[in-house]
Each structure stands twice: as C-alpha cells, then as structure tokens.
Symmetry: C2
Subunit: 333 residues, 2 copies
C-alpha cells in the first residue's frame, strides 16, 4: 500500500486527508506514475463539428513536437450535432507550445465553415490525479506515464480524488470564477476567471464476457447516459460548465467499446458534490457497484479517470464557427 502522492511531491501538510491513516480501501486501485522530471502536463482537446478533414490534423499529430499520445472519439448521439474530439497529451509544455504555434490556426480555420474548437489545459503535476481499476491498459494521459503505482491508499471513499492531488496537502483547490467571452466574428475565446476542473472518466467493456457485457449495457450504461445528459442539459446550475459523452474510435474511425465523459467544472468542489450526492450520479455509482459485486474477481470492465485543476493562465478555450451549445460557449453569459 502506497500513497497516490509521489515522494517528490510530498510536502508538510496544512490540510488533512479525508480519512484516518488506518483506513484500508476495500479493493485495489492504481495511479499513473510519471517520471519525476515531468512537472506539467498538457491535455488538448481538438474538436470538429463534422467528421471530415482530419488528414491534416493526423499529419500534424504525427509530425514534429506532436503529442506523446492521442486518441479520437465522437460524441454519443444525444440530439446535438456530433463532434469529433481528438484528445492529445504532452508531458512537456514547451513542446506543446511549439506544436500549437504551428497547428492552432490551420486546425481552427480548416473546417470550411464547419465548427472547429480547442479546449486545452496544462496543469502542474501538483494539481492533477488519475485512478485506474486495473494496470493492464493505460488510457488518456496515463499513456505518457512511466508506470503504474502499486495499490494506493487514497481511494474507495468520497474525497479520494482530492486527496490524490498533491496540492490538497496545503490548498483548498478552490478558486471559483465566471466566464469572460471575447467574440471576434465567428471566433470566440472563453476566459474563465477562476481555476477550472476537468475530468475525463472512462469505461472499457471490450474484454467483458457475455453476462458482464449485458449488465453493463442494460443496467449501467442507461444510468451513465442519463447522468451525462443531465450534466449537459442542466449541469450549469450545479457548477458543470460543459459535459460530453464520447465513444472512442478505432484507427479506422469505427466506434469501439470504450467511452468516456469529458466534463468541465467551475470547481473541484462542485464536481465532488455532484459525484457524491446528486441522484444521477448516485444511480451511476449504484449500478457500477452492483455490476462489480455481481462479477467479483471475474470482472473485465475497466474504469479509469483523470482529473485536473488548472489556473486561468493554464487554460485555452477557443471556438470558430461553432454552434452556441458547444463546450464552454453554452455556459458563457
């Protein structure tokens, strides 16, 4: 059993963890371990309102200063125009800056009238955490990590997400702010005044056997879909700026059996409150729990998330030719 906070980021505490030192989690979980030289990560979500025109982006992603890892997903049909979302990860912001200087404009203006957008953050490692139920297959930013940890202590209770973030040793991680909007024709920049919280929370049932697959699709997924829809349509009132429910695509552009929710929150605290007490998430949590208990050690459903809190200077939100319900535009005044 080890701490999710790596030794090099352990500092004298002014704030206590949520659980006493003798707490033992009821099941194992793991976190991504980056090389100690990694000080800041970049998560860039590149969106397209239309499936075409990704060839230039693919070349850029594979070219100089490209991301250490990327994947592509599409918004699950939900009454909105589908976005195709490319999630790209760097562990050196200087490399990202070079890449972004070269490819930002071509991406944003290459849609030929179709919406294009970029939502990117660069949290320091102090304000970022991951969790994985299994070490077999990293996803998202964890693909950049050196390794997985051993079994960690800070999970299996409400508040573990915060306790896994090194900054929680001394910071409330709370800097709520509304959104400023700068419009220049079809181009919109959104500038949150406070720190924002991003969660990518995923599930992969591609290895699940028949009965687990049936439980997932019939009992878990409808609750997940309802919760994602609630956040998208009504989340702003409880601090969710934007929510997308995405299906990962394979190299040929076909949907896989991996999905994730991508949610922007005004604060980590508001994400905590929804997760812990809102009926839509209580239903998701309950359904996942029933599946895991029914499957026991046989379970092949893989769950993970990554959560970041990024200060205003660590954020970039830019939209060109996008409809007004796109990403943070929806939450803009």
């Amino acid at each position: 059993m080890e701490s999710a906070i790596p030794a090099e980021l352990t500092v004298p505490r002014t704030r206590h963890p949520r659980v006493p030192d003798d707490f033992r989690p009821p099941y194992p979980s793991f976190v991504a371990r980056h090389a100690p030289s990694v000080r800041q990560l970049v998560m860039a979500y590149l969106g397209s309102q239309g499936a075409s025109g990704h060839e230039a982006l693919d070349a850029a992603l594979g070219g100089p200063d490209g991301p250490g890892h990327w994947d592509r997903a599409t918004q699950v049909a939900d009454g909105l125009p589908s976005d195709v979302v490319t999630a790209a990860y760097w562990d050196d912001p200087a490399v990202f800056d070079r890449w972004f200087a070269r490819h930002r404009e071509p991406w944003l203006t290459g849609g030929g009238g179709q919406g294009r957008w970029i939502e990117a953050i660069r949290p320091t490692v102090e304000r970022y955490e991951t969790i994985f139920g299994s070490r077999r297959r990293p996803e998202g930013v964890a693909v950049l990590a050196e390794s997985f940890s051993g079994e960690i202590r800070e999970h299996g209770y409400w508040g573990g997400m915060r306790d896994r973030m090194p900054a929680s040793q001394h910071s409330p991680l709370h800097s709520p702010g509304e959104l400023d909007v700068e419009r220049d024709g079809a181009r919109v920049r959104v500038r949150p005044r406070g720190s924002v919280c991003l969660i990518r929370s995923g599930q992969d049932w591609s290895d699940a056997a028949e009965d687990e697959r049936r439980m997932y699709t019939e009992e878990v997924e409808p609750n997940l879909r309802a919760g994602m829809g609630f956040l998208r349509e009504e989340g702003l009132a409880i601090g969710c700026f934007a929510n997308r429910y995405l299906t990962v695509l394979d190299d040929a552009g076909s949907p896989t059996e991996r999905t994730y929710g991508l949610s922007w929150w005004r604060t980590l605290a508001e994400l905590e409150r929804w997760s812990e007490t809102h009926p839509t998430h209580v239903a998701i949590f309950g359904a996942f729990g029933r599946l895991v208990r029914a499957q026991g050690a046989r379970t092949q459903l893989r769950l993970y998330h990554e959560v970041s809190v990024a200060t205003p200077d660590e954020q970039w939100f830019e939209y060109v030719d996008c409809h007004e319900r796109t990403g943070l535009l929806r939450a803009a005044p």
Copy 2:
C-alpha cells in the same frame, strides 16, 4: 443560513471543514440548540429482554433526578429475542449520576432471569451533533434542547455529520480501540479502549399521506431493514460493534409509525465509510432520495439523527443475564 456549530463553541481551526465557504445546501435542515450552560449530555439506553417489569423503571424515570425526556421502543422482529429499549436523556451528568446510583442495580437485577442491560454515554457538547429535516417535532436528545437552529450550512454533503461536531474544528475524532470484557457470573461489563461513536437515526411517517406512506413502506423500508440487518449480522468487519432497528412504542406500549436505528461504531470514520459507500447504505440513501424527490414540498416523512463520540470515561456498558448477541457482547472477544 447559520453554522451548526454554536458561537460559544467556535474556536480557531486547525482542521478545515469538508466544503468551501460558498457551499449552499440544496434543501434546508436544522440542528438542536441547547442552552449554552449545557456542557455534557447523557444518553442512557436501558434494555430488557422481555416486555414485562417496566413499572418500577417508569416510576424511577418519573421520580427524582429523572431524565428530561425518555421514550421506549422495541427491536423490530429480526430472528433475535426482542429487546425493549428505554432511551433516556439528561443534560446534566450530575443529575444522571444521582439517578443512576439509585436505579442502576434495581434495573439490572430486576429481570428475574430475563436479560437486562445498560448502554450509556455522556458526550460533551463538542463531540455531539444532531440533524432534523423539519422543526415541527423534536425526537431523542433534541427534546432537551431550548430550540431548533435556523437553516444550517453543514449538511447535504458527505462529511456534514463530522463538520457539525464542534470538536472537528481541531480534532480528527479518531481513537479506535478494541473491547475489554469483564465477566462476573451473569454480569458482564464491556470497556472499549477507544472512543466510540453512537448514532440514533430515525424516521417518522405517521403524518404521511397515502402515496408517501406506500413509497416509504414498499420502497424505502425494505432497503432500510436490509441495511440494519447487514450491520447487525456482518457490521463488525467494517467497524460496527452493534446495531438495533427499533420501533418506538406509544404510552400504551403499541408500535407507532416511528422507527430508529441505534448503532455503536468503533469510530466515526467507519460510520462515515459505511454511510457513504457501502451498497446497503447507498441503497437506503437512494431510496430516501427518490421518495423525497417524488413528494417534493408535500413530504411529511420526518428524518433526524443524533451522533456522539464518547471517550472511554464517558461510556458505560453493562449486561446481566443477557444472551451473547446482545449489544456490544456480540463484538466482544
């Protein structure tokens, strides 16, 4: 909006509350406010394994130095012999001590071979909290209070229970310990080595109209019963020393439409973990939430609890002629 912690018990913090200052609970709740002169409460549970022989106790309760309030309940049928439990409350330990000196032995030895027991604590007001969904009818220790508070801030999130306790401003409220047992013939004293946590958590559906009553009895109560049964039979592994699920009796000894769970825990932290994440309580929480949302402002279901953390010198556990599954005997080595 006010703090659950009264002004006279507010001290400089070394520990932070669970939520930021800008948190606003999604619905109102209230706490019992005692006179500032009240420094310590006494909760004495007097149990009888058999329904007869309460006349002497009734006289004692109504006599000199008797409790400010008491009620009587019976263990809901659950495969165990039924206990009749008289819960008595004092807000001055000196008065209780005089009463106890006179009535302890007559009570414990008056069963004529039927089991008798006493489980009592005297927490200071720093290590005690209440919560009520409505101010219409106090129950339990709150009957001793001067008044109810206005709407309080520290509820509607996991961790509110701890945050409402004044001692949480500076103490982890965590002193886990196992149980020592002293046997003297048919008499057993149990002496926990650590602080213990007691929760009385109740529900009153006597004012509920037809549809709410149906939802309570058909959808909520079965989950509650299952959770209570889990704690009674399997709770020790997760830190629950003992659990009883009780129906309050009216003056004629007939069951009312008010029940409560009475649970002894090794630590407040373990009570928190069960409440927040155990499938049995997630099911209870989900069912209560569905009822409250379905009923909206019409709801007449009244919910309350009182929670205390008592140090070893604030505890008294004594059993005479009791079966080995009684109260803390069950958890004794």
